[in-house]
Amino acid sequence: MSSEGKVLSNIWHMLSPVEGGIHPREASRHHSDIGPGIIKRSLEDAGVSHSDIQLVAFSRGPGLGPCLRTTATMARTLAQKLAVPLVGVNHCVAHIEIGCLESRFEDPVTVYVSGGNTQIIAFAGGRFRTFGETLDMALGNILDVFGRTIGMSFPAGPSIEHAAADGVEYHQLPYSVKGMDLSYSGMLTAAKKLHLEGVPVADICFSIQETAFGMLAEVAERAVAHTKKNEILLTGGVARNNRLTEILEGVAERHGASFHRVSPPLAGDQGAMIAWTGILQHQAGDELPISDSHVMPKWRTDEQDILWRCRF
C-alpha cells in the first residue's frame, strides 16, 4: 500500500474449513505455513524491494488468539529487520477505513457483515462505536451453517443467493429485532425445520434472505435515523450479496443518504485494509513499541481513540 492510498498488491489466501468450522490451531498453522510466501509474492507483485518499506502494520485484534500471534510475530520480525516502525491495527476499524478510501466517504454508517461479524458502526466522539450488532450468530455464519445442512459447500452465501433467485413463495421465519440489535439463531432453527418439512430449497433460501436482510436493514435504518449521517457503507464478505445491496440502497434513498458497497477484493478480510489503516494511524503519530505489541483478541471497536479522524 502506498502512503497515498494506492493498493500495490493485495494477496490473500483463505483456509477452507472442513466439517465443524475453523480450529484455532489449524488456522494458525495455515498462517505460519503460507505467511512468508505471501509476503514475498506481494513484494514481487508490487514491484518494490524490502528497502522501500517504511512501515509495517499488523492486525492486533479482534480475532483468534493463535492466528493473531502468528502474524504479529511475522510483523515484529519484519519491522525489526527493516528497522521501520510497527503499528497495530484494529481489524474492524480497518474494514471501515479501506471502505472509506474506496468510496471517498467521510463519515458513514458502516454495515459490516461477514462470517464472524454483524455490526453497525459509526464514528462518534472520537471513536468508532458499535450502534448495533447481532446478539448471537453472525449473518455470514448463518448462511454457511444453513448451507452446510442442505449440502452446499463452504462458503454457502453465493449458493444461497443463487438458489434464492428461483424462490417464489415466502415462508414466514422468526424476525427478531431488538432496538439496534438483532438475533438470527431462531431464524436458523426455523429454516432448518422448513427443510425437514420438505419445503423447496429455493423458497427457503429466498425466505432466509428476505428475513435476515430485512432485519439488518431495519437496524441499519435505525442507526441512520438516530445518527443523522448521510452515507451508508456496506462491507465484509456478505457485501457481495446483490439482494442485500438492493435493500440497503432502498434504506439510503429513503433517508437521502449515499450508498456504497465495497468491492469484493476490499470487502473481505485482506492485508490492504490493515496497511492503509496503519498508514493513517502512523500519520497521526501512532507507533507501537515491540515490547508493547501483544495481540488483543477481544479488542473492541470502541476501545481505540481514532486520532486521524479528530476533524469530525
Binding site: P62, C92, G125, G179, D181, I247
Partner: protein, 212 residues
C-alpha cells in the same frame, strides 16, 4: 380520521410523526409507511403487528404509572395511531443542554420507569434517550412501544438493559458513566432484589455477540 392541519415532526426509522389538529386538540399522528425495499409480506406483518402492539402497550403501561401519550384512535389497516402530543423535548437533546444535576435526575427517573415496567414483566424493546420526552414541567414520558413485549423473561429484561447501556455509550459517551449510574439507582430503587439477575444477564449479553 378527519384531520385538518398536518405538520411533519420527525421521520424516524420506521415511522413518520405528524403534529395534527383534531377537533381543536393538538395531537401526534404516528404513521408507519410502506417500505418498498422490504419484502411485502414481512413489511405488512411488521407494520400491522407493531401498530397494534404499540397501542396496547402505550395504554397498558399507563395503568402501571408509566407516563405515555394517551391513544385517541387507531387505524390498523393504514398503520396509524393518533395519540396525545407531548409538548417538550427529546431526552436525547436535553442531555446536550442540561446541567449534570438535571441529567442525573432525569436518568434516575428513566431507570425508575424501566424498573416499573420490568416489575410487571414488560420490556420496552428500544429504551434509548430518543424514546423519552420531557415536558415543560420536567415530567418524563415514554414513547415508541412498537417493540415492547409482555411476559418478559430475565433474558428479555437483560436485553433491554443492555440496549440502554449501549445507547448511552454511543450517544452520550462523555457522560455515560454518570448517566448509567443514576439510571441504575432508579432501576434498583424499584426492582430491588430482582435487579441483580437482570443486570448480570445484561453484562453477559454484552459479551455474547462480540468477535471471539
Amino acid at each position: 380520521m378527519q384531520i385538518l392541519k398536518k405538520q411533519l415532526l420527525t421521520l424516524g426509522a420506521e415511522s413518520a410523526i405528524y403534529i395534527v389538529e383534531y377537533w381543536g386538540m393538538t395531537l401526534a399522528l404516528k404513521w408507519r409507511p410502506r417500505k418498498p425495499y422490504i419484502h411485502n409480506e414481512i413489511d405488512k406483518l411488521l407494520r400491522t403487528s407493531r401498530t397494534s402492539r404499540e397501542c396496547k402497550m402505550l395504554t397498558f403501561v399507563r395503568t402501571l404509572g408509566v407516563p405515555t401519550p394517551a391513544v385517541h384512535s387507531v387505524d390498523i389497516r393504514n398503520h396509524l395511531i393518533l395519540m396525545d402530543f407531548i409538548e417538550g423535548q427529546q431526552f436525547k437533546q436535553l442531555v446536550n443542554t442540561s446541567s449534570k444535576k438535571r441529567i442525573t435526575t432525569l436518568c434516575h427517573e428513566f431507570g425508575k420507569l424501566l424498573g416499573i415496567m420490568h416489575m410487571s414483566d414488560i420490556v420496552h424493546g428500544d429504551p434509548t434517550t430518543s424514546n423519552a420526552v420531557v415536558d415543560m414541567q420536567s415530567k418524563m414520558w415514554l414513547v415508541d412501544f412498537g417493540l415492547a413485549e409482555k411476559n418478559a423473561t430475565i433474558e428479555m429484561k437483560g436485553v433491554d438493559m443492555h440496549l440502554l447501556r449501549r445507547a448511552y455509550e454511543t450517544t452520550h459517551w462523555a457522560l455515560q458513566e454518570t448517566m448509567l449510574e443514576s439510571t441504575m439507582e432508579g432501576y434498583v430503587e424499584i426492582s430491588g432484589d430482582d435487579a441483580e439477575a437482570v443486570l448480570s444477564r445484561a453484562d453477559e449479553i454484552r459479551e455474547r455477540g462480540r468477535y471471539h
